[in-house]
């Protein structure tokens, strides 16, 4: 399953943007992931070949940066910041309540938790990474979007409703 022409063209455009082609690798991997959802060995190889780099470079980046995935991820990925500023104002509670509302069993310890809905459409994570929204804590990221000020039960209800809408959209898109 190779990348779409659109993605391949976008990667070629990235290469043209920088004085050295290797700089294009990180943005290109992000473009490929945007299309595929994650980066398989085949996708990594395709991106590396397209830019003209050894495959090893691609796997090195893909496993270093937290926003790149070398394993399949759910279409709706939720990342709760559990770092100090958020944790001090109820992020742990917000994550637990969100999990409960979605009927997700969380695994892992302390700052790192994860779980998913039974239909595998929504993935919940608690992470120790700070996303720079401490003044609007607690918060989580849903894909690329920031969901901030998740303070009350109503806030969480709204979040969960949004997650379910996204999951339904992803499901219908898959069909």
């Amino acid at each position: 399953m190779s990348l779409s022409v659109t993605t391949r063209d976008a990667i070629t455009a990235e290469v043209a943007k920088y004085p050295y082609k290797k700089t294009a690798l990180l943005p290109s991997l992000k473009l490929a992931q945007k299309e595929k959802g994650w980066l398989s060995t085949e996708t990594l190889a395709e991106v590396a070949d397209l830019i003209g780099l050894p495959h090893s470079h691609a796997i090195e980046l893909a496993t270093f940066y937290a926003m790149l995935f070398t394993e399949k991820v759910a279409p709706v990925r939720v990342e709760y910041c559990l770092q100090l500023p958020c944790a001090l104002v109820g992020a742990e509670d917000a994550l637990a309540k969100t999990a409960k509302l979605l009927d997700v069993q969380l695994h892992g310890e302390r700052g790192t938790r994860h779980g998913h809905t039974k239909d595998h459409l929504i993935e919940l994570h608690g992470t120790v990474e700070c996303y720079g929204a401490c003044h609007r804590a607690p918060m989580c990221r849903v894909g690329d979007d920031y969901k901030e000020n998740l303070k009350t039960d109503d806030d969480l209800q709204r979040l969960v409703a949004d997650l379910k809408t996204r999951a339904a959209a992803a499901k219908s898109q898959a069909h």
């Binding site: 943007k17 943005p27 992000k30 780099l53 470079h57 559990l82 500023p85 944790a87 700070c130 929204a133």
Partner: protein, 437 residues
């Protein structure tokens, strides 16, 4: 009483939309750049040096000095903006980019002119997609208006056209990219692992060419210096060491968290928390404050009268760093807090050098065991021993950062640790099982 101060960097508190070019120019935007282009590049550097501007990313290195290290002569030179704002508790560069993108662009343009750069990069953390979009839009606006471009419609003092392109580059999730050589590695398409120095970036940085890496807020300070002059800039703050405005991020146990722009050295930590932050929501007393995200020692309640500037926070046994204040009231278990911070450093350690890679993991494992109620008194020594093995021995500062939550919390809050030790005789005592979380 809050200070009577007109903010410069974020002049519209509470605003969430981006300031467009027309609005920016109406309030005098790009005057600084026009002034700069009428001077020789080296005179621009001298002005920034004289203004006493220090790097706002954390290290506090004099900005003009950094620029002056770039060798003159032909060949490409790069200005790279460090917008990889990932320090827990820090969200000032995000607001600067999302709301005042042109201030940053103007600062980049002035800095580029000073060092002779024609291609600048803004390396934004991958999660800040909104900031990335808004900055790209603003760059396009500036290009269309002829303020940027290769060449732009502006003219340099020597009569040649001013030429600058700005590339907005988004990362992909790695705190270590905040370290300037790791950022350069990442920009080159590598794993973001800090480089050994020498050579220094000013000599061999991006693509092994002379490179200056400046923080977003640092560059946002520059237009004012060029527009209003050195003296006007120095009138703000607490000279000679602490000039100019500073954005303080406030989070944690305060009623009004947020970004507060204040002159350096004009308020104390206590005033800041009480008058600006509104005090703790619980009304409980402050137990401690982290002044530079999680990367500098905790300031205990006894030192809340420290003045908010480089010297004042240093005097309180810590560092101003990125000026990201995380307030903790007395309900906080400092062992729990230290564990959470060490988890962060363990997670973000790039793994290149031994002490940080192995040491953060060791600290985390020992702290986890203590959190499970299996701590021993000797663990405190072990934690301090491991911290000592890391600090000062690592390739970059992340290793040092990782130890300060542990050593400073043991120093100031030893009882919090002792409360977690195995106490066989008090097994029935319910208070002993109160381990936080």
């Amino acid at each position: 009483m809050p200070l009577d101060y007109q903010p410069i960097l974020l002049p519209n508190p509470g605003r969430t939309t981006a300031v467009a070019l027309t609005e920016y120019e109406q309030r005098g935007g790009y005057d600084g750049l026009r002034n700069a282009l009428r001077k020789k590049p080296e005179d621009v550097t001298t002005m920034v040096k004289d203004a006493g501007l220090k790097g706002r990313g954390g290290a506090g290195f004099p900005t003009g000095m950094k620029w002056s290290f770039v060798p003159k002569g032909p060949g490409p030179k790069y200005l790279v903006v460090n917008a990889d704002e990932s320090e827990p508790g820090t969200f000032k560069d995000r607001d600067l980019m999302e709301i005042e993108p042109h201030t940053l662009i103007e600062g980049i343009a002035i800095g580029s002119y000073a060092i002779g750069c024609e291609l600048a990069f803004v390396y934004i953390r991958g999660e800040y997609t909104v900031a990335g979009d808004r900055l790209r839009d603003a760059v396009d606006e500036a290009k269309k208006a002829g303020l940027l471009g290769a060449p732009s419609k502006l003219t340099r003092a020597d009569g040649t056209p001013f030429s600058l392109d700005i590339v907005v580059f988004l990362g992909a999730g790695a705190y270590i990219c905040g370290e300037e050589t790791a950022l350069i590695e990442s920009l080159e398409g590598n794993r973001a692992m800090p480089r050994s120095r020498p050579p220094f970036p000013a000599v061999a940085g991006l693509y092994m060419k002379p490179t200056v890496v400046n923080n977003v807020e640092t560059l946002a300070n520059v237009p004012y210096i060029l527009a209003k002059g050195v003296d006007a800039y120095k009138a703000i703050g607490n000279p000679p060491n602490n000039t100019g405005p500073k954005i303080y991020c406030l989070s944690g146990h305060v009623k009004r968290p947020g970004n507060y722009e204040l002159p350096l050295g004009k308020v104390t930590l206590r005033q800041f928390i009480e008058e600006y932050g509104g005090g703790t929501p619980s009304g409980r007393p402050v137990k401690g404050v982290l002044p530079a995200g999680v990367s500098a020692p905790i300031i205990p309640a006894a030192n809340l009268d420290a003045v908010l500037d480089y010297d004042g926070i240093k005097g309180a046994g810590s560092m101003l760093g990125s000026a990201s204040f995380i307030v903790m009231d007395d309900s906080v278990d400092m062992l729990w807090a230290a564990t959470r911070m060490v988890e962060f450093f363990r997670h973000e350690s790039c793994g290149k050098c031994t002490p940080c890679r192995e040491g953060t993991m060791w600290l985390e494992k020992t702290l986890y065991r203590m959190m499970e109620g299996k701590g021993k008194e000797s663990d405190l020594e072990t934690l301090q021993f491991v911290s000592k093995q890391i600090a000062g021995n690592t390739l970059c500062a992340l290793g040092d950062f990782a130890t300060s939550p542990v050593t400073s919390s043991i120093k100031h809050y030893r009882d919090d640790y002792l409360a977690h030790l195995v106490r066989i005789e008090k097994k029935s005592d319910k208070k002993g099982d109160k381990a936080a979380e």
